[in-house]
């Protein structure tokens, strides 16, 4: 495939100025890693969106996790484990490639309570649901979820209403591989914005950016792994275990229906059932502008903490810790290669 031809067209774009948002954290990392951000003409502004599940985890979730230190064995994905460890020193979180591994660890140590810090969007939600189904099947009674799972559609609706100046969205490929494209097609029509579902290599990114700049159709999909119907069996697992609830998004606040919580029949796996955790809402670090970074309102250097007190070695917020965080990517945490 002639990627060079696409790249050359992207870099020579001279149409009306565009603001394009990459919604997914993996896209944020990819636009830096591939170097594609560097070839965009000045008239195209690429902004980051709230699609890194670790970055949008609110302080209450992180504080609740920290409150469990010493009372339970905490396990999560690498980025979440590091974020809790860095922001709440003294809290030890083990890493696991999959929450189903955490179930097996719980099964192997029945005397300990094991809590999985369950974060993710549509790509990861089925895997979290599977861990609960697995724990039930294996009769593992010492495995619990502390949920911070979210779904993209209510957040997209929020973004479109709050920031109507966005001209197009680079849509999350692996989220759509699970959820399908129905919502996004309707979304583009409803708000008269362009959207393109894409994968994460430079060919995918260049094809999507080309279509967002020059394409005539509002909605497009360049990623062959994404089917219109998504992955019905993965979606079914999510619907079996979870139900929608309000979600607090770091820097944005509460969005109705954007979260997932365990259904009543799975309450025995809910951490609050075992520990009855109090609600904790500590203040954010004074001056940290995570919320504006997460919604693409400012670039990281516009935050007064960026590069001064907030650096990869002394991060003040998850955007500087997560490997898919905008501030981390911006700081050069992603190795730059040429496209």
């Amino acid at each position: 495939m002639d990627k060079k031809r696409l790249l050359s067209k992207i870099s020579r774009y001279d149409g009306k100025p565009l603001t394009l948002m990459e919604v997914c954290g993996s896209h944020t990392a990819a636009v830096f890693r591939t170097g594609i951000r560097n070839i965009l003409p000045p008239s195209v502004r690429l902004i980051s969106g709230p699609g890194c599940p670790v970055c949008v985890a609110d302080d209450a979730f992180i504080s609740r996790a920290a409150a469990l230190e010493g009372r339970a064995r905490l396990i999560s994905f690498g980025d979440m484990a590091r974020t809790v460890g860095r922001l709440r020193p003294g809290t030890r979180v083990e890493t696991a490639a999959s929450p189903t591994d955490a179930v097996m660890r719980a099964k192997a140590a029945p005397a300990e309570d094991v809590v999985f810090l369950s974060v993710g969007f549509e790509t990861t939600n089925p895997v979290c649901a599977l861990s609960v189904l697995r724990a039930r099947e294996e009769n593992v009674k010492n495995f619990f979820l502390l949920t911070c799972n979210k779904t993209m559609p209510p957040i997209m609706e929020y973004l479109a209403k709050a920031y109507p100046d966005t001209d197009g969205y680079l849509l999350p490929g692996h989220v759509c591989a699970v959820s399908g494209t129905g919502f996004y097609k309707e979304f583009c029509k409803k708000y008269n914005v362009k959207g393109c579902v894409a994968g994460f290599d430079s060919l995918q990114l260049s094809a999507a950016l080309y279509l967002l700049m020059y394409g005539k159709t509002l909605f497009s999909n360049v990623y062959s792994y994404v089917k219109e119907e998504g992955s019905p069996s993965a979606e079914a697992a999510v619907r079996e275990v979870f139900e929608p609830c309000p979600a607090v998004i770091r820097g944005i606040g509460e969005i109705p229906g954007a979260g997932l919580r365990l259904k009543k029949e799975f309450a025995a796996f809910d951490v609050s059932c075992r520990f009855g955790l109090p609600e904790v809402f500590p203040p954010q670090d004074a001056g940290c502008r995570c919320g504006d970074v997460i919604c693409g309102r400012i670039e990281p250097p516009e935050c007064p903490l960026y590069g001064v007190s907030c650096r990869p070695e002394t991060p003040c917020g998850p955007c500087m810790i997560s490997s898919e965080g905008t501030c981390f990517a911006y700081f050069g945490g992603c190795e730059r290669r040429s496209v």
Binding site: T100, V127, Q204, S231
Partner: protein, 75 residues
């Protein structure tokens, strides 16, 4: 965190399976994709298959439709 990768399924034993990509063998959980069988391609995330791919998709990721074809053809 939403990184997923395609594997060609080589073995299925109940809910655990083995897939192959680029000569590497990787174990994964197929509990979310019942009915998966050797020869299928799956998309794997966090150690679990989340989608069975259509044959052929796993090799070519770019979906070519008219607007994109035009861009690639007219220089």
């Amino acid at each position: 965190m939403c990184v997923a990768y395609p594997l060609k399924v080589t073995e299925v034993n109940g809910r655990s399976a083995v897939g192959e990509a680029g000569g590497l063998k990787v174990g994964f959980d197929c509990g979310l994709c019942p009915g998966v069988k050797p020869g299928d391609y799956v998309l794997v995330h966090a150690g679990c298959a989340i989608e069975i791919l259509d044959p052929g998709e796993a090799r070519e990721t770019l979906l070519l439709f008219d607007e994109l074809k035009e861009a690639l053809e007219d220089g």
